[in-house]
């Protein structure tokens, strides 16, 4: 392969920013010089659910260096109900107004000359509360004696939530129903049914980079530099909050130091914008590591479910009752509830399926998007059930899955067909990798070995919109304007590869402009593994438009029809005619340094699911298919799990950059190991008690498997750019159940609550004896 081709689609060119990221030479938002600004710190609620009687700020105001203290009531006076924002429900105030709904909710903001002063002043604020009955967990919430919100307030973002406006006396803010066939009847008539009560706890994303937002007013415009995955969304939210036209709001970003969903939608931005706008000064809002734990979490989820086979071992019924604990504010919980609830039966041919999926308010820190968007929680349920059913039927768990997995063209229980979702290929790949078909030394003493597999399915965020603008510079380099945010996944690198492949140029000569809503075009969000497909398609199209433009200019110059011109790495060619791009563009404009510009859009479409049945013939633009295989050893004395080999496969359609795909699969798998074995937020009466990196456990280098094998599976998507789809979430879906299934295989106990701590394994072993 020529060197230039390594920089095109299918080439594993290194990402352009590796050295800078590793050496800390990339300036993140928090590294930016801020100049004269008010530094903001927040006084947080001490009660899980209470009415705010009074906020005492005089002492704080009297402290030297304090510019001002702002309460929710102050902001409400200026902004009214616009203070309440959120992607699904307009339910979250930038500062608590009238009520607090979780311990740690921002109540008052101090603006001061420096951060230390601001933080010290927050301790001089105190609040009179009238306690309200707290809703600590799902059981409290569904008992329905106390309500986190007096009434539901759907936002204008999602039109299909309109019917929930003003509904009172409930903590359930959204319900998704799937009804295919008669699942209850099929279950009752079935020969073999397994059931389970599953729990996946809340977790936190813990990106290395902490969130930071700098906001200021310039010439009557609100501008901000912020750590966000969703610049276009934030721009709209701020415009709505401040009642400004979009043209008077500017949201810019820097490369993120990881996010995983933590820096999406309404985080620090509404507060920063409200303070900058009302105080008329530049503000810098940041969060400590401990505060970051309170900003957003992954939904804890309870799933009560069953899976039934007939006498021949055919799957005949799947029933699941899914409850997502969304905390005090809905965030995007309702979307998670639907999108993940609909795949609760798993990627299997099942004639009858019934899912009730609910999004539930509690007095806890709000839960929002997290790598996997709620799907790992239901994968935990369906991959445990099918494994147990295989055991009950005396069948091999791998072969049993393989028999029932959805194939190309099959219709999933929610009514949408499968395309470019090679579950069988992924499952085969991981089973082979971990030696499923080889004899296993199971051990006879205290160390027992086992193997497990799991398969996952997830829909891509649909419908969404991507736009791209390309400027080809006269020297045959290019500048690509998109609003995709590179947070470490490598999007800037692969977008350049896509454009370069079309234009037959070196992708290292393409610069991707960082999201800036003044310059880069609208893009729904960088999330849900959507960018490679959606933005990638927009980039492919914008490059094709540029290629056509170049060919047109060359045809004119050569005096031949455009069909006879081809674009090569050395420039346009037609028979004996040849010209370099640099000469061509220079000839066209008669100037050095001129640019040619093209623009393109890609928008995906869907058919909204039926309200009654939850079914749709196109609920998503495409599917993610993944599988995980684990070979583990359990120390039966301590309950400790050692992962000897973890294999993770994902069908990515086509790998734009195979090395980056492998890194995404491996990174997701490592995150999944944490969720499987020890990662969880522990709350006691609404109080987060392990929200520090001293207490909150993430996988360390010593927790990695002895062997970790990422496997790229490619079944090209008809409409993907070069057949490609995304991969950011695929690797995490099945990790926890694969490990739990391996524990089941090793020591014969079925655990249904995550994480699989040594203690839980030991206790289960004792009960089993």
């Amino acid at each position: 392969m020529r060197e230039i081709e390594q920089s095109w689609v299918g080439g594993s060119r290194p990402r352009f920013d590796t050295a800078g990221r590793v050496r800390g030479m990339i300036a993140h938002v928090g590294d930016q010089a801020v100049g004269a600004a008010a530094h903001v710190a927040v006084h947080r609620a001490t009660q899980p659910h209470a009415r705010i009687e009074a906020v005492h700020v005089d002492e704080a105001l009297a402290m030297p260096g304090v510019y001002g203290v702002v309460t929710g009531a102050d902001l409400y006076k200026q902004l009214g109900d616009r203070l309440l924002t959120g992607p699904a429900f307009a339910d979250q105030p930038a500062l608590a107004h009238e009520k607090v709904r979780y311990v740690g909710e921002p109540v008052a903001a101090v603006l001061a000359a420096d951060l230390a002063t601001a933080r010290a002043a927050t301790d001089a604020i105190w609040v009179d509360y009238e306690d309200l009955p707290p809703v600590y967990d799902l059981a409290d919430a569904l008992a329905g004696t106390a309500y986190v919100h007096d009434e539901l307030r759907p936002s204008s973002v999602f039109g299909d939530l309109k019917h929930l406006r003003g509904v009172r006396d409930t903590n359930v803010n959204y319900t998704y129903n799937l009804r295919t066939g008669d699942a209850e009847a099929a279950r009752d008539a079935g020969a073999h049914t397994v059931t389970g009560e599953f729990w996946a706890p809340p977790t936190h994303h813990v990106p290395i980079e902490l969130p930071c937002t700098i906001a200021w007013v310039d010439s009557g415009r609100l501008e901000m530099l912020t750590t966000t995955q969703t610049p276009s969304y934030v721009r709209q939210t701020i415009a709505d909050l401040l009642d400004l036209p979009l043209s008077r709001v500017r949201v810019t970003t820097r490369p993120l130091g990881g996010s995983f969903g933590a820096k999406m939608y309404d985080r620090l931005e509404p507060l920063a914008a409200a303070l900058a706008w009302t105080a008329g000064r530049r503000v810098r809002v940041t969060a400590t590591r401990e505060e970051a734990f309170l900003l957003t979490t992954r939904h804890g989820a309870a799933v009560s479910s069953s899976l039934t086979a007939d006498a021949e071992g055919n799957l005949v019924s799947s029933v699941a009752d899914v409850r997502y604990d969304t905390g005090a504010y809905a965030d995007v919980g309702p979307r998670i509830t639907a999108k993940s609830g609909m795949v609760a039966p798993g990627p299997y041919r099942i004639a009858n399926a019934r899912v009730l999926s609910r999004c539930v308010y509690t007095n806890k820190p709000s839960a929002g998007p997290f790598r996997g968007f709620g799907v790992p929680q239901v994968t935990w349920s369906h991959e445990s059930l099918i494994d147990e059913l295989a055991h009950e039927l005396g069948e091999d768990p791998y072969a049993f899955r393989r028999r029932h997995l959805l194939r190309e063209g099959d219709e999933a229980p929610m009514g949408t067909r499968m395309h470019s979702a090679d579950f069988v290929g992924c499952l085969d790949a991981v089973a082979n990798a971990i030696g499923w078909f080889d004899p296993l030394d199971r051990g006879t003493g205290r160390i027992r070995r086992g193997r497990g597999v799991a398969v996952g399915v997830k829909a891509v965020l649909t419908p969404t919109i991507a736009n791209a603008v390309l400027q080809l510079n006269q020297d045959n380099s290019a500048t690509l304007l998109i609003s995709t945010v590179d947070m470490g996944q490598g999007s800037d690198t692969i977008m350049a590869q896509i454009a370069a492949d079309v234009l037959r140029m070196d992708s290292r000569r393409i610069h991707v402009v960082r999201a800036d809503t003044d310059a880069t075009p609208y893009d729904t969000i960088t999330a849900g593994s959507r960018s490679t497909y959606h933005t990638g398609n927009a980039v492919r199209r914008v490059a094709e438009a540029m290629r056509d433009k170049l060919i047109g200019l060359a045809a004119e110059r050569f005096g031949v029809p455009a069909e006879e011109v081809s674009l090569t790495p050395d420039g346009p060619r037609a028979g004996s005619h040849e010209v370099t791009v640099a000469e061509l563009v220079h000839g066209h404009f008669g100037a050095r340094g001129a640019t040619l510009t093209t623009e393109a859009n890609y928008t995906s479409s869907w058919t909204p699911y039926d309200k009654e049945t939850g079914r749709s013939d196109k609920v998503t633009e495409h599917w993610f298919a993944g599988a995980v295989g684990a070979r583990i050893a359990v120390d039966t004395a301590t309950g400790r799990v050692r992962i000897e080999h973890l294999a993770v496969a994902g069908d990515v359609g086509r790998a734009i950059n195979p090395t980056l795909v492998e890194q995404q699969l491996s990174g997701a798998a490592i995150m999944g190991i944490g969720h499987a074995l020890f990662d969880q937020l522990v709350l006691d009466q609404g109080q987060l008690i392990n929200g520090t990196l001293l207490d909150y456990q993430l996988p360390s280098i010593r927790d990695l498997p002895d062997q970790l094998t990422p496997i790229v599976v490619e079944s090209p998507h008809d409409d993907g750019p070069f057949g490609a789809k995304g991969v950011g979430e695929t690797g995490i879906l099945g990790v926890a159940p694969a490990i739990a299934n391996a524990v089941r295989d090793a020591v014969g106990v079925r655990l249904t609550r995550l994480p699989l701590t040594p203690e839980s394994i030991t206790m289960a072993l004792e009960e089993n004896q």
Partner: protein
């Protein structure tokens, strides 16, 4: 309120003791493993910090009279690198402390000064019967390790005293250390256990971490093992399952654990029994291999 904090930087032990006598509220800091967490989380706001990082007397070790006099600020990295032969139990525990970066800074003095039941150094110090050397301008005294810990994060140190060293007997037999954590590195112990066999005097020492208000010895387990271990026929197969099991149960019985975010009391007792049993087997194998 932004409060100022004095940062006292003595250059010698004598100066450090004078500063401590004059500022009894000053919190000594060496590696800062525990102190910085408390400051960062605003759990305490001491009037002064007493930086021991430039006190040369605290940063050395030497052998004397069959013991190692280990300076309070000798970092764990050096304990691992330089003392693995003579203080194997402590070196094993040192390997499990924090991350490499933390081990480059942290030392035994800080563990003792904090007197946390979870301090990784404590079980091997208990198992070996170490003495803690403490000093003030009033003089120097040694406190047997078993009398040093008075309660959770409370020790026998007077307000004007500093931990200057620990005096640890050179190993007279195999030693072991084992720890259960919620993950495999950079972790506060759910429980830990240190074991030291003295094959000459035919005694057994134990230390229990993270399973009581203070680090504990399991005296009954020590007496039992000393009595029943077949010292005259030290072969691997002479340690019976029953002996190992009873030893483990006696260790577990000596623990006084609580339920917390890292684990339940029941699991701590269970895991301690396993660790005790297992370390006894490992140690006995070493005896037979000698």
């Amino acid at each position: 309120m932004v409060v100022s904090m004095d940062f006292l930087r003595p250059a010698s032990l004598a100066e450090a003791l004078e500063l401590k006598a004059a500022n009894p509220d000053a919190v000594p800091i060496a590696g800062g493993t525990d102190v910085m967490v408390e400051l960062n989380f605003d759990k305490r706001r001491p009037a002064a910090l007493l930086d021991l990082g430039r006190v040369p007397e605290l940063a050395t070790w030497r052998a004397e009279n069959g013991r190692v006099r280990l300076g309070a600020t000798v970092p764990y990295t050096r304990i691992v690198d330089e003392l693995g032969d003579v203080l194997p139990g402590l070196a094993m525990a040192a390997r499990t402390v924090g991350s490499p970066q933390i081990r480059n800074r942290a030392g035994v003095g800080g563990n003792l000064g904090s007197a946390s039941p979870a301090g990784d150094a404590h079980p091997p110090l208990l198992a070996t019967g170490a003495d803690v050397e403490v000093a003030s301008t009033r003089g120097t005294r040694t406190v047997p390790i078993g009398e040093f810990f008075l309660g959770p994060k409370r020790s026998a140190l007077a307000a004007d005293e500093l931990v200057t060293a620990v005096l640890v007997p050179v190993a007279a037999g195999p030693q072991q250390f084992a720890k259960v954590g919620t993950r495999n590195a950079m972790v506060i112990a759910v429980c830990s256990f240190g074991l030291a066999l003295d094959t000459t005097r035919r005694t057994v020492g134990t230390g229990i971490g993270s399973a009581g208000p203070v680090p504990l010895r399991a005296a009954a387990a020590e007496d039992f093992a000393a009595e029943v271990l077949p010292w005259d026929e030290p072969a691997a197969n002479t340690l019976t399952d029953d002996t190992a099991k009873e030893f483990g149960e006696l260790v577990a019985a000596a623990a006084r654990p609580i339920d917390d975010v890292r684990g339940s009391a029941a699991y701590r007792r269970h895991a301690l029994a396993v660790l005790a049993r297992r370390t006894l087997r490992w140690a006995w194998q070493d005896v037979s291999g000698r």
